[in-house]
């Protein structure tokens, strides 16, 4: 226990990150379940308006800052040194600071629920002056601001560590152009973090000054500017969207190649597209502000459309990777296919709302709620689960059950689409987001009911996943005590338990020794483990 609290080992820190996001995911998911139950029928009174506003504020904040983004950091913490053949991260103690700041940031945000007046209720975007002291009078908003400031610092720390490690700690032979796509995507992600998160820190500090130290940055009564808040927030907020997806583009690229039995198709194109997305992501923020009437819509619309091109390249290359391969439909691969099918819908609706004439109707409606959940839920979250199933044997030396895993996938895939597909139509019919109740007009009642039923099914699917994790730890402890032998060597998986793996983490034991490698295989391409296991060819 003490060793976990004081660890500076990148693998343990990675697992700390991912386990913490797991806990926050369950909490944020339960909040979402209450939201869906409140919206199951019109004029429902399960929770009050005030409680509902806190629920969706915490749900959004937690899923974004405490689940989807940091899971990527945890996975990268675990994988980057292994994938580039390094013994640890460049700054191990800074790394430990980062993970603990992250964990504390989550606790601070959630502690707002116990403050007088309840948790923050201004939404995860906390637009001023709604988040100002005149309206958000309670300490909940302050705890939200301070929590996210800690989160921003933790995130900047982790980004510095990734960049340094990737640039300076690669093993002999591991040139930049032999790095796995996941590592490349994390490099692009870290660069985006360094550009975007200081803007978040700045806007949160300004908000804090406005609230308590007599500032008037965003107070229109004192000559403050409400549009300035939106600019600063979205200057962070849009790159953040890609911080939550690029790591998972990396995950998809890794898993899809292994289970297609082929090298990744268009490696250079995938890497360049990651940097194209990272670059473009810095110039699209005001597409969240098309309806404000005070930004250059045409410019931000054009830049947003352009992002579809590198994203299209990724889809093209993933399909190219499957083309002509030998596709094994394991649980991780199923989740990745789920990612492709869901993310495509989210990506296409994303191109639609990049057009201001469409956004004039869709903005701030349930159409947007559907869009972002298809990207971050159907996309990122499916890749998270795929990654957990894929790297679990590497991390813990035991596979998760494939049978339960496939149940997990199919229930999740069906549930996800039942929850979020109807939301497109709710939005088009005129249901705004962030409402605790709605009129019983048109198709809204039955669409909402269907969506809520899907949410219950999704909860069931998450329970299957938790069951799978518990089951595997039971197996693991019986293996440790020598009561049981899992496939492969006695009590231990082979280095490459899936067969056909490419990157370097599969050339060491499951789990890897403390300093990762007892001996490194020669690195002559971007798939050293494959080369090692196919020497005769």
């Amino acid at each position: 226990m003490i060793t976990w609290l004081t660890t500076t080992n990148h693998k343990r820190i990675g697992i700390l990150y991912m386990a913490t996001t797991g806990v926050f995911f369950v909490i944020a998911g339960l909040l979402a379940l209450v939201i869906r139950l409140q919206l199951a029928q019109p004029n429902e009174t399960l929770v009050s308006a005030s409680a509902f506003n806190q629920l969706f504020t915490l749900h959004g904040t937690a899923m974004i800052f405490l689940v989807i983004a940091p899971f990527g950091f945890g996975l990268a913490n675990y994988l980057i040194p292994l994938q580039i053949g390094a013994p640890d991260m460049a700054f191990p103690r800074l790394n430990a600071l980062g993970v603990w700041l992250f964990i504390i940031s989550g606790l601070v945000v959630f502690s707002g629920a116990f403050a007088a007046g309840g948790a923050a209720f201004a939404g995860w975007t906390a637009f001023a002056p709604l988040s100002g002291i005149q309206i958000s009078t309670g300490a909940g908003e302050d705890l939200w601001i301070i929590g996210l400031l800690l989160n921003a610092i933790a995130t900047i720390i982790v980004a510095i560590n990734f960049i340094t490690t990737i640039l300076l700690y690669r093993a002999p032979g591991m040139t930049m152009w032999r790095m796995p796509v996941f590592t490349w995507e994390m490099l692009a992600t870290a660069l985006m973090i360094l550009m975007a998160f200081p803007a978040l820190a700045a806007v949160l500090f300004e908000l804090l000054i406005d609230r308590h130290y007599g500032g008037h940055f965003f107070d229109p009564a004192q000559g403050g500017n409400v549009v300035l808040y939106q600019h600063l927030f979205w200057f962070f907020g849009h790159p953040e969207v890609y911080v939550m997806i690029l790591p998972y583009f990396g995950v998809v690229s890794e898993i899809i190649a292994v289970f297609s039995g082929k090298p990744i198709f268009g490696y250079v194109g995938l890497v360049l597209s990651a940097f194209a997305i990272a670059g473009l992501s810095m110039s699209v923020w005001a597409h969240h502000m098309f309806t404000t009437g005070v930004v250059a819509n045409a410019f931000f619309s054009a830049m947003s459309f352009l992002i579809a091109v590198p994203t299209g390249v990724k889809f093209w290359n993933w399909i190219g990777t499957m083309w002509g391969g030998r596709i094994r439909l394991t649980t991780p691969m199923l989740f990745i296919i789920g990612f492709l099918l869901n993310f495509l819908i989210g990506g296409i609706t994303g191109v639609m709302i990049a057009s201001p004439p469409i956004d004039y109707h869709a903005e701030d409606s349930y159409f947007i709620v559907a869009h972002m959940h298809y990207v971050l839920g159907g996309g990122s979250l499916f890749a998270v689960l795929g990654a957990v199933y894929f790297w679990w044997p590497k991390m813990f030396g035991v596979k998760l059950s494939e049978t339960l895993g496939k149940w997990n996938f199919w229930t999740m895939f069906v549930a996800f689409n039942v929850v979020f597909l109807p939301m497109h139509f709710m939005g088009l019919e005129g249901m705004p987001r962030r409402v605790y109740t709605y009129a019983a007009t048109g198709d809204l009642p039955w669409l909402n009911l269907v969506s809520t039923i899907g949410a219950l099914l999704m909860a069931l699917s998450v329970m299957l996943f938790i069951l799978n994790v518990i089951l595997s730890s039971v197996i693991l402890s019986s293996v440790r005590h020598g009561e049981r032998v899992v496939e492969g060597r006695h009590g231990q998986l082979p280095d490459d338990p899936w067969g056909g793996c490419n990157s370097l983490e599969w050339a060491t034991s499951c789990p890897p020794p403390e300093f990762n490698f007892t001996a490194l295989p020669p690195i002559r391409s971007e798939r050293p483990t494959w080369d090692l296991n196919h020497v005769s060819r």
């Binding site: 490696y267 191109v351 701030d364 019919e429």
Partner: protein
């Protein structure tokens, strides 16, 4: 399902953009889904021992993979740009003007020069009366924080921001009553910050204006009257009134450079 059924002239143009984008979306999605499912079915592992070909790249194919999406988005951007410029342009001589003021959590609709002002509450949402087939210019303000003025039937919304008035044109072309709401989250009773839009024939609109030109109203109940003669007489008075009003109109009340686009603060 009552979606994308436009009830204004501008909305018909906006709907055109929706239709083009939805059609493109369906074609692209169908194409990509077809490729994915073809690959999954054709090359699913059936225990074959042969190792699949280990090809890594195909320069012509990859270049096509850049060019096709690029061409699609250039086309989509062109359509977007043309329609957006047309939509955001302001008409110099609107038939009617309405000042809309958003506040937590309802709306005030006032008709400058007519001494008609309707203020709602979350429990009694106000009604915005607009003339059919006539161009109405909306001046949008916020009394406190960020709000957004959304009429789904017009496929249109615009934010009401404190310190940043917005101006836009609406030409409703279907008689009827339509729901509207605030779509920018604004706190506790955001969900109840609704209103209705009643689109009536221009003559009825004029009569309504004149019969209510007595001051502020707490609710904008629209009571149609059928006395045709009285209505005609009324219309004459209303038109005279309009002339007088337009002569005495305070120039500060109108957007200063109304022929230009509305996006200046």
């Amino acid at each position: 399902m009552p979606i994308l059924q436009p009830a204004s002239l501008q909305a018909e143009d906006l709907r055109g953009v929706w239709v083009i984008f939805l059609a493109t979306a369906l074609v692209v999605a169908a194409f990509v889904y077809a490729l994915i499912f073809y690959a999954l079915i054709r090359w699913r592992d059936r225990g074959q021992a042969k190792m699949p070909p280990q090809f890594k790249q195909n320069a012509p194919l990859e270049i096509i993979g850049v060019i096709i999406p690029l061409l699609i988005v250039i086309g989509l951007f062109y359509i977007t740009y043309v329609r957006e410029v047309a939509n955001d342009a302001l008409h110099a001589n609107p038939y009617a003007t309405v000042d809309v003021k958003a506040f937590r959590w309802s709306w005030t609709f006032s008709y400058p020069g007519h001494n008609v002002s309707i203020t709602g509450t979350p429990q009694a949402p106000p009604e915005l009366v607009l003339p059919a087939n006539k161009l109405t210019q909306i001046n949008l303000y916020s009394a406190d924080i960020d709000h957004s003025f959304w009429i789904p039937a017009f496929l249109f919304k615009r934010d009401a921001l404190p310190g940043f008035p917005n101006h836009f044109d609406l030409t409703p072309n279907k008689i009827g009553v339509y729901p509207g709401n605030c779509s920018e989250f604004c706190g506790l009773d955001h969900a109840l910050m609704t209103f209705t839009v009643r689109v009536v024939p221009a003559a009825d609109f004029e009569r309504w204006l004149s019969t209510h030109a007595t001051g502020s109203l707490s609710s904008g109940a629209f009571a149609p009257q059928n006395a045709t003669i009285a209505r005609r007489a009324n219309n004459v008075i209303v038109r005279l009134k309009r002339v007088i009003v337009s002569l005495s109109n305070d120039p500060e009340q109108r957007p200063k450079d109304a022929s230009r686009r509305a996006r200046r603060p």
